[in-house]
Assembly symmetry: C2
Homo-oligomer: 77 residues x 2
Amino acid sequence: MLENIFGLILKEIRSEKNISQEKLAEFSNLDRTYISLLERGLRQPTLTTIFKLSAALQITPQELIHKVYESYQHAKK
Amino acid sequence: MLENIFGLILKEIRSEKNISQEKLAEFSNLDRTYISLLERGLRQPTLTTIFKLSAALQITPQELIHKVYESYQHAKK
DNA sequence: TTGTGACTTCCAGTCCGTC
DNA sequence: AGACGGACTGGAAGTCACA
């Protein structure tokens, strides 16, 4: 549930910034295929991964989590 | 690094709310010993654990992350 | 540019307990 | 109430070749 939402939000933000999965992987020091797994909701990030990704996307972790939270609250109903 | 900060923040918030580790474990459906590991910075939470914990502490996930982020930014210098 | 399957290593998280 | 230990299972981290 949360993984899927996180994946969608991640993809959404990345797309808005016109960054490829490859570039995001490079900026965050994560593997390109791992980004793909995250976006498809097949993996769940840990705290440090959340921080790495938000830094790479040039947003704060709380902004990222906030979007996930909003979407999650909405989806729960 | 991040684990330690997260642990401190978690303990801080929990203490402020006067909740025992045991109660927090109960509210969040996590193990008592695991809460202890988190607070001592020996384990790192995943996204769902962050959500579970913040729900149990009656704060939003972004508030929790925000505190961690502030403390992290401060510690980096 | 991304999805996917396969794989290994390591850690998230649980359960038993003691101090 | 909380620190800390050992042993365990599932699943995340991290990487590869290929479609």
